[in-house]
Symmetry: C2
Subunit: 324 residues, 2 copies
């Protein structure tokens, strides 16, 4: 693909256009992904998540500056749960990050999760790949909140940083399980606030209790004041240490193999179900199955069984599967 | 099924056991769902969601008491993002609701969303159905947070109540899009706190701006102090008015048809993908596809295309689809 060639040659505009194609789930996505495949795997992908108000955007901003200071390049993906019709937060991020907009070594993209394309686990993963293929040394993926979508997005990262603030007490209590499972590094931000030390201690105690299998890596709890640039250098160091530890344990390779396997299953799933739904809208026999269930005449399990054992429908489905 | 018969005859223990089977995604689920299908559609299903700390559990507690006062029966499903190894919140809910434990007209079940079975959209939907078939007049489904999983769970409800508190200012700002789309009724709880009136006004302004298509129904913004039982009667009234409005607009029927269609697609999807994953673990040819992708030799889209056009594999898959 010519657009991919131009992106690989360093074109920022082709990169931006490819990202848009991926976000919109264009029919060209398979072609794009095939073309960039040989150029993947070099970037260090860092996921940054945590509750709203934890200061993640500022953290991403400062971390970007820190990485740039060392001469490495950065791609930033801010995944925002705001749908386009409210719009505020996405715009906010863009404004906060604007000091980097003139820097050729930084590429920033905001995506919304709801009410529009983009921001879902598979589209985010596609955008990460584009930035990796483009040659970014680091890709920072920022998500707000710790819902399932955010956790799924984090699965595409090599290193997951969970940012908390002292006030988030209840939230940790409620959400600690999911967070503990995904965090490679904990950061207590706004560390000058009351309760920060207590929170660090509590997190460390929790980590000892529920020590997860992360190979030789011991999940650290760092303190930062991102807004004052305090602790950011140490954070980047911890991120790099984690990467190295994974590399030495062969965990990085294993993690990426697992990710690719997962991605493959989802890709097959999308095609299989996508074509099935097309059939549901076009084929009269298929429509009658859907109809019976929609009316409540048949339960979904019985109807599903009838459907997947209906030879005529299976043949049609199979034909649809092979169509480009 | 004998267990279903005993549940339909009013057995609380059979109901509890059936819920456990659904939560664990037992192989008997299709049979159970088929057996209860003729008994569905009578309950009014109410979803209650909002950020942590908004007082949803208390609201559910008081609403349950209010419904009981009118002589109707209630099923309560508390979906909790806490995984079993932390456990706290689920237990907390159980304790809070204990005044209802001796009441035969109330059936309460807590489910965790992560780290265990149960609490996912399709299992929650199954439990709602069991309570509906059992004959509960109202089923209250409470979720914490407004992540994608919670929004998906709310799609199974006839009436969605979004509970907020004055302090949640930022959170609304961030999440308002998703909330606006799903809310049939807004409640500002802890209405004695500072900022409550402002929040009501702001919500009403937002609703006017982004008025969604809810037929003749105008989404109201109510004030409550659940802990003091203030505003709960009005809330139940609003819930019943919403139900009636939907009924008159034929929206209830349309919504349920849409839900059943969606559920059918997901059921087919589960079977199709489940059998595919089994094949991936057993069939050597299938494994070689997965292997190539996992190693990064082939991109997932190209491999998916090869797979869905491989006649030998399709035949095996088709055979697997029909097996009970």
């Amino acid at each position: 693909m010519e657009l991919v060639e131009r992106m690989l040659a360093g074109g920022q505009q082709p990169l931006a256009r490819l990202i848009t194609l991926v976000e919109r789930e264009s029919a060209e996505v398979p072609q794009i992904m095939k073309a960039i495949q040989p150029h993947l795997g070099k970037a260090h992908i860092i996921g940054i998540t945590g509750p709203p108000g934890a200061g993640k955007s500022t953290m991403v901003d400062k971390l970007t500056a820190q990485i740039r200071k060392k001469g490495a390049t950065v791609g930033v993906i801010a995944v925002d749960p705001t749908s386009p019709f409210s719009g505020g937060a996405v715009l906010g991020d863009r404004i906060r990050m604007q000091q980097h907009y003139l820097d050729e070594g930084v590429f920033i993209r905001s995506m919304a999760t709801r009410g529009s394309h983009g921001g879902l686990p598979h589209t985010t993963r596609g955008v990460v790949k584009l930035m990796d293929a483009f040659g970014k040394d680091f890709v920072l993926v920022e998500t707000v909140g710790v819902g399932q979508t955010e956790l799924d997005i984090m699965e595409a990262a090599d290193t997951v940083v969970v940012v908390l603030v002292p006030e988030a007490g209840d939230t940790i209590q409620t959400l600690k399980a999911g967070l503990l499972e995904i965090a490679d590094i904990f950061v207590v931000n706004k560390a000058d606030r009351e309760g920060a030390n207590y929170m660090v201690t509590e997190l460390m105690a929790m980590l000892r209790l529920y020590s997860s299998q992360k190979g030789s890596w011991e999940v650290p709890v760092l303190s930062t004041q991102a807004v004052n640039d305090v602790g950011i250098e140490e954070l980047l160091e911890a991120i790099e240490n984690h990467h190295q530890a994974m590399d030495e344990d062969d965990d990085l390779d294993r993690k990426r193999q697992r990710q690719r396997r997962q991605e493959f299953i989802q890709t097959v799933e999308q095609r299989v179900i996508g074509r099935l739904i097309e059939l549901m809208e076009q084929d009269s026999k298929m429509m009658s199955y859907v109809d019976q269930v929609a009316k409540g005449d048949v339960d979904p399990f019985s109807a599903a069984y009838s459907l997947v054992t209906d030879q005529e429908l299976l043949r049609k489905w199979q034909e649809a599967l092979g169509r480009e």
